[in-house]
């Protein structure tokens, strides 16, 4: 299972991209922001797409009563996520090495993939809950109190993925480089599974 082991190791290592590149990106464009404001969401915190975007988004959000964007220390996720990802990379590499030297079965590869997928879905769900809370848990003294067509208080949660109109802003939310690297890495672990299976049958 030499080939499969190597693919598994490479696949796992691609997750390290999350430590360097953003997982997600939200861009907010409006007529008076021809250069859109943007948020890059990393596993360990949120940064502006441009230097002062965080400050400017917070400045605008105070009109509708949104909380300021969380600092890394404001959310447990930003300390846990790096540990989880780091741990999963370590485990994946370990499984890959063990597979390479023939100590574990190729089934461990798909096992790792399933665990990673569950963790990923949980992470997305957590992110989704945070977006809803962030966009709907508004300051009661908010300057602008708007309601939607049904008369409910307006929510300002950006879409988990895709496009949404928030007042005068067009919000675009899409995975970013880190997520794509993770996706490719995880696909490689499936490839490792099948390659391993083939190699196992041959032997």
């Amino acid at each position: 299972m030499k080939k499969a082991g190597i693919i598994m190791i490479i696949g796992s290592l691609l997750l390290l991209g999350l430590f360097k590149f953003p997982l997600w990106n939200i861009m907010l464009g409006a007529p008076q922001y021809p250069e859109p404001l943007g948020l890059d969401i990393y596993i360990n915190g949120i940064q502006g797409a441009s230097e002062f975007d965080l400050q400017n988004i917070d400045g605008l959000n105070h009109y509708i009563g949104m909380k300021t964007l969380p600092k890394p220390e404001d959310m447990w996720e930003f300390s846990i996520f790096p540990k989880v990802i780091g741990g999963m990379v370590a485990i994946g590499v370990l499984i890959g090495i063990l597979g390479f030297i023939g100590k574990v079965s190729y089934k461990w590869f798909i096992g790792w993939f399933i665990l990673m997928s569950i963790l990923g879905i949980l992470g997305m769900y957590d992110f989704h809950l945070w977006l809803i809370d962030y966009g709907s848990n508004l300051d009661p003294k908010a300057i602008l109190k708007l309601v939607d067509e049904q008369g409910n208080p307006m929510k300002y949660d950006p879409p988990l993925i895709g496009h949404k109109i928030l007042l005068n802003f067009d919000a675009f939310s899409y995975p970013h480089t880190g997520a794509y690297m993770m996706f490719v890495g995880m696909m490689l672990t499936i490839v490792a599974f099948f390659v391993g299976k083939k190699e196992y049958k041959k032997s």
């Binding site: 002062f52 400050q55 400017n56 400045g59 009109y63 602008l144």
Partner: protein, 655 residues
């Protein structure tokens, strides 16, 4: 043979027909309204699109510089330079008051004439613009990163700083030549004893290549002529500077007659490299002087004014071989050097012709000591020995010349109100177009450098008359934009200009716009009273001085309620704009304040003084519509009687 002949005939007739058509077209375009739409297209910049060039036009008696777009003629900005400017608080705010300091005290105005953009290797580099204050001699430097005036230096021993502010091809020096000769040092003496006693100071101001900071390196004490305009040598003549003179008669009364007696005045050719070397080796005489040097620091957002006490003067007699006089008819005004540096064009304003001197011939005449006497020890060269040619134009009152990128020159004629295009080297007139009316300077982007960008030319006219809707007796002056990309000039656009535009400098937008600053960084704000977050806002009293360190952000001031101020206090508002977003300034205005409002850019701190004279509760507010809640951006100050014992206190939202 026969076929060759036939084909030549055919070819010739085809050419004739084609060129004939071309002429017809251009003729009808001038008269036929329907065809004017092509001109409209040439100056039309669609909404959201940018002009291709910046034009920086001097404001003359407005004391400022205005920034226009070409080809649209749209006004983008007025940059305050020598004049107080209530729009932004320039010259009113405590930080900018020192910019207008001079040896005569604060002078809140000047007559701004000739802007010149900094150059590297003779090519516009778009870092700074220099401009002269003509009335109280000063040179200012404007940053093209912030579009703010960063430095103003006063020029001592000078009067009527007109042959200025032109720069050498690596921005080594900016010159300030005196128009009026005066006693140096100034003294009480009979005016009738002018001749032989007055001096004309030509100041060479060294520019730091990194920071742009200016310092007077030396002043040449020339004979008491009037030094009218100047131009640095380029390329082969780099290292020389040329000044036109009038009143070589040294008359002191009724100059319109008495200074027009000599058939020829001079262009003074100055080898500044030679003088620089002389000065670097300890030459020259230090003399007491008193002049202001004002520098604005972008990080403290504050200007300081320093009085300088000495200036180095140079007597031409002490450096033989550095200065020569080129006889030039007839009271020459414009002094321009072509991009190759070979030709020095002197426009005798009382003449119909242009006089073109050859730099090579000049060096040759100097080499062979072909002199025709001297003036106060300065050798005069023979007119014929240095003459390269003349443009026989038939126009009247030639003033200024600029160059395109194809070896052509364009000269304005004040009296006959026209621009004449001629070929450098052959001196043949190629085209002439009327201007409306009485044209002074003209500008081609880069047209006084080694590398002109020859698409557009605009003329700045002194008289407007019927060009726009009338606005009472006072009309804004008119500029006219011409397309010079073809053989013939084509008038594209009229646009009004503010003040009395003299000269302008223009540059392709790409060289400048990428460097234009969007905000001031709060983390670089070193203003001593800056508050970089709301929590630091405070009010402190020191005797009858109260310092309010206030912050502003959309849409509130912190603090917004202040009590404990008393009649007779001197209240300093130090206000920091906490925004870090492009184009979000906030304003500040206080009722009854005896200065102006402030307009504060993102990340900037400005200070203004208010001396409350009446008890009461007085509002202040933001003057720049900043957000949907701009109207709510306001506050109150309670003013109590002088002997009141109300404690100083301040709040935001009751906290």
């Amino acid at each position: 043979m026969k076929t060759t002949f036939k084909s030549i005939v055919l070819l010739l007739s085809a050419t004739f027909i084609l060129s004939g058509c071309g002429n017809n077209n251009s003729k009808s375009a001038g008269n036929d309204g329907a065809l004017r739409s092509s001109k409209a297209e040439k100056v039309y910049v669609a909404p959201g699109e940018h002009d291709s060039h910046y034009a920086f036009i001097s404001g003359g008696y407005s004391g400022n510089v205005t920034v226009y777009g070409l080809p649209s003629g749209r006004l983008f900005k007025e940059i305050p330079v020598f004049s107080q400017f209530p729009t932004s608080g320039y010259g009113y705010s405590e930080e900018t008051k020192p910019m207008l300091n001079t040896s005569f005290g604060e002078i809140p105005w000047d007559d701004a004439h000739h802007p010149d953009i900094s150059q590297t290797n003779g090519v516009l580099d778009g870092r700074w613009i220099f401009i002269n204050g003509n009335n109280t001699p000063r040179i200012a430097r404007i940053s093209l990163k912030t579009f703010e005036t960063e430095e103003i230096i006063e020029v001592p021993n000078s009067a009527g700083n007109h042959s200025s502010s032109f720069i050498t091809e690596n921005t080594e020096y900016v010159v300030a030549g005196t128009r009026f000769s005066v006693p140096v040092p100034q003294k009480d003496m009979p005016i009738a004893e002018y001749k032989g006693n007055f001096k004309g100071a030509l100041s060479f101001i060294k520019v730091d290549p990194e920071t742009g900071r200016m310092g007077i390196k030396f002043q040449i004490m020339m004979p008491g002529f009037n030094y009218d305009l100047s131009h640095p040598g380029r390329d082969k003549s780099h290292g020389w500077f040329f000044f036109t003179t009038y009143n070589t008669e040294e008359a002191n009364s009724l100059l319109e007659v008495n200074a027009s007696q000599n058939d020829k005045d001079f262009i003074a050719a100055i080898n500044w490299k030679k003088i620089e070397e002389y000065v670097d080796n300890g030459g020259g005489t230090k003399m007491p002087a008193n002049y202001a040097h004002n520098v604005y620091d972008e990080h403290t957002h504050t200007a300081t004014s320093t009085m300088k006490k000495e200036v180095l003067t140079v007597n031409p007699a002490d450096i033989p071989g550095a200065i020569y006089l080129l006889p030039t008819p007839k009271s020459p005004h414009g002094c321009d050097v072509d991009p190759t540096g070979e030709y020095i064009i002197g426009n005798g304003k009382l003449s119909a012709d242009l006089t073109i001197h050859s730099f090579t011939k000049m060096l040759d005449a100097i080499e062979n000591k072909k002199f025709d006497g001297d003036a106060y020890g300065i050798p005069i060269l023979n007119y014929e020995d240095v003459l390269a040619g003349a443009v026989k134009s038939g126009g009247l009152g030639p003033l200024h010349t600029e160059f395109d990128d194809k070896g052509n020159a364009y000269t304005t004629f004040f009296i006959s109100s026209e621009v004449v295009k001629w070929k450098v080297g052959t001196w043949e007139v190629i085209d002439r177009k009327p201007t409306y009316y009485s044209v002074g300077h003209l500008t081609i982007p880069g047209g006084n450098s080694r590398k002109p960008f020859g698409k557009y030319m605009f003329a700045m006219n002194k008289i407007t008359k019927d060009r726009y809707l009338p606005t009472g007796p006072e009309l804004e002056h008119s500029a006219q934009l011409y397309d010079i990309s073809g053989d013939k000039m084509e008038l594209l656009l009229d646009f009004p200009t503010h003040g009395e535009p003299h000269y302008a400098a223009a540059i392709p937008a790409d060289i400048v716009k990428g460097n234009s600053q969007k905000i001031y960084r709060l983390d670089e704000n070193k203003h001593p009273y800056a508050v970089t977050n709301q929590a630091d806002a405070k009010v402190t009293r020191n005797g009858n001085e109260v310092h309010i360190s206030m912050s502003m952000i959309r849409s509130h001031f912190t603090p917004d309620n202040i009590e404990g101020i008393k009649v007779g206090d001197k209240v300093y508002f130090h206000i920091t704009n906490l925004e870090q977003d492009f184009d979000v300034p906030h304003g500040f205005a206080m009722i009854g304040q005896n200065t102006s409002e402030l307009l504060i850019m993102p990340g900037q701190t400005k200070t203004s003084v208010w001396e409350p004279k009446q008890v009461g509760v007085w509002p202040f507010y933001c003057t720049d519509f900043c957000s949907a809640l701009h109207q709510e951006m306001q506050g109150y100050i309670r003013v109590s009687p002088k002997n009141s014992n109300i404690e100083l206190s301040w709040t935001l939202d009751g906290e």
